[in-house]
């Protein structure tokens, strides 16, 4: 049985923790609104970009000479996984969910006897993955100290990936991130960016309906556009991730505040009970002392 003093100390410490989590929730809520707005504003760009690439790829006849970014290297041996996480913790299952999704995929690849390479973006993901998959990590980037992640940062990472691809360091590239659905739900996603997956499927569904004029040639446009699309997809993942992180943090902190409240209530009851018990004990001692006289 803890003493009254101990209980008092614990109650006040839980109360101050509650204050912190409450403040963090408020901050996350304010940031969430901004991040959500950004994510929504950023969606049209990547959607339209996909559309254009889809239209372009439909009109390409000579598949053998098409850009490698579109059709792949023809091999499927080396997989590069870009795991995009946050730089900060205390946001519930946000980082863990991405890592879990990624780990499942890693195990699958290793089981199939293929080579795995990992590129981590964000320090939390790196921390979680380095223990089990440390030897596979070839690159890590984090944005600690950046106030806002802009398109330039996404382009930087995109360029790194493109360079690796041109050096034939990998055949397939996937990115892992959280898609923001709403404040409570974020869905961990994996998206294949090299070769482009979504196009392959839709290509079979509908053959070219409308004819386009191209300036310059289709292949030349594609060669230029596809690398840029990679940066765009990564930037989209960043925006979605930023919104998801704040949403996840807000929910986690809301829960923490509520739990702290429950704990304070419970501790207060224990405190009052033991105070009452101490008083009763003292009274009994006095009375029985008086009786024995």
């Amino acid at each position: 049985m803890p003493s009254l003093d101990d209980l008092k100390k614990r109650i006040s410490s839980v109360k101050s923790t509650q204050k912190i989590t409450k403040a963090m929730k408020m901050v996350a809520a304010a940031k969430l609104r901004k991040a959500q707005e950004n994510a929504e504003k950023g969606r049209p760009f990547s959607e339209k970009m996909n559309n254009i690439i889809l239209n372009l790829s439909k009109s390409i006849v000579d598949k053998d000479n098409a850009s490698k970014f579109l059709v792949g290297t023809g091999k499927n041996n080396i997989h590069l996984c870009v795991v995009i996480t946050a730089d900060r913790g205390l946001c519930g299952g946000f980082n863990t969910n991405i890592c879990r999704k990624a780990k499942n995929y890693f195990d699958q690849i290793i089981k199939d006897g293929k080579t795995l390479k990992i590129f981590t973006v964000g320090s939390k993901g790196h921390d979680q993955l380095k223990r089990a998959y440390g030897s596979y990590i070839i690159e890590k980037v984090n944005f600690k100290g950046f106030r806002k992640i802009t398109y330039n940062e996404a382009e930087e990472i995109g360029n790194k990936i493109i360079k690796l691809f041109q050096e034939e360091q990998f055949d397939v590239c996937k990115i892992f991130y959280n898609k923001f659905k709403n404040v409570i739900t974020q869905i961990p996603q994996s998206q294949q960016i090299i070769p482009i997956e979504s196009i392959k499927k839709e290509q079979e569904e509908k053959k070219s309906e409308n004819f386009y004029e191209f300036e310059p040639e289709e292949n030349e446009i594609l060669d230029n556009l596809l690398p840029r699309n990679i940066s765009t997809q990564i930037f989209k993942a960043f925006l979605e991730n930023a919104a998801s992180e704040q949403g996840s943090r807000m929910t986690a902190m809301d829960n923490a505040t509520r739990n702290a409240g429950d704990l304070v209530d419970k501790l207060t009851i224990t405190y009052n009970r033991s105070r009452q018990a101490a008083i009763t004990k003292e009274l009994i001692e006095i009375i029985s002392g008086a009786e024995s006289l």
Binding site: G42, Y212, I221
Partner: protein, 131 residues
């Protein structure tokens, strides 16, 4: 007057311009190009230059682009660019700075013809802008 069409100019961060236009002039890769209603479907690259949109109400808006891609299909023009600015928002410092960077890049020796072409275009456009 039914000769307008929809124009959307989109950057990765947001939709910059979304309105109806009667005519849009874009700096396409092989030269300036004006687009009117019922133009053939086209996909083209942009080189550094100025996009001029003639809006319904006769007003003209201009944008400075460094690169990007434009798609015209079923009377909708979509311009995607990661480096696009409304001319009104440009400052003299920005232009001077960009001119200097461009000039520095041009003076490098191992430059591809394509890059040199783009950089020269950029420099010409920057010289033309008057604030």
């Amino acid at each position: 007057m039914e000769n307008n069409f929809k124009v959307e100019i989109i950057s990765p961060e947001k939709i910059i311009f979304s309105d109806n236009s009667t005519q849009v002039t874009i700096p396409s890769y092989e030269g300036e190009m004006s687009i009117l209603k019922n133009h053939i479907s086209i996909i083209t690259f942009l080189r550094p230059g100025i996009i001029i949109t003639n809006k319904d109400d006769g007003k003209i808006e201009k944008f400075f682009v460094e690169d990007g891609i434009a798609e015209f299909n079923t009377n909708t023009l979509i311009i995607l660019s990661s480096s696009i600015l409304n001319i009104k928002e440009l400052s003299k410092d920005f232009i001077d700075n960009l001119s200097k960077i461009t000039q520095d890049k041009l003076s490098q020796k191992d430059l591809l013809d394509h890059d040199r072409y783009v950089l020269n275009c950029k420099l010409d456009v920057l010289k033309e802008i008057r604030i």
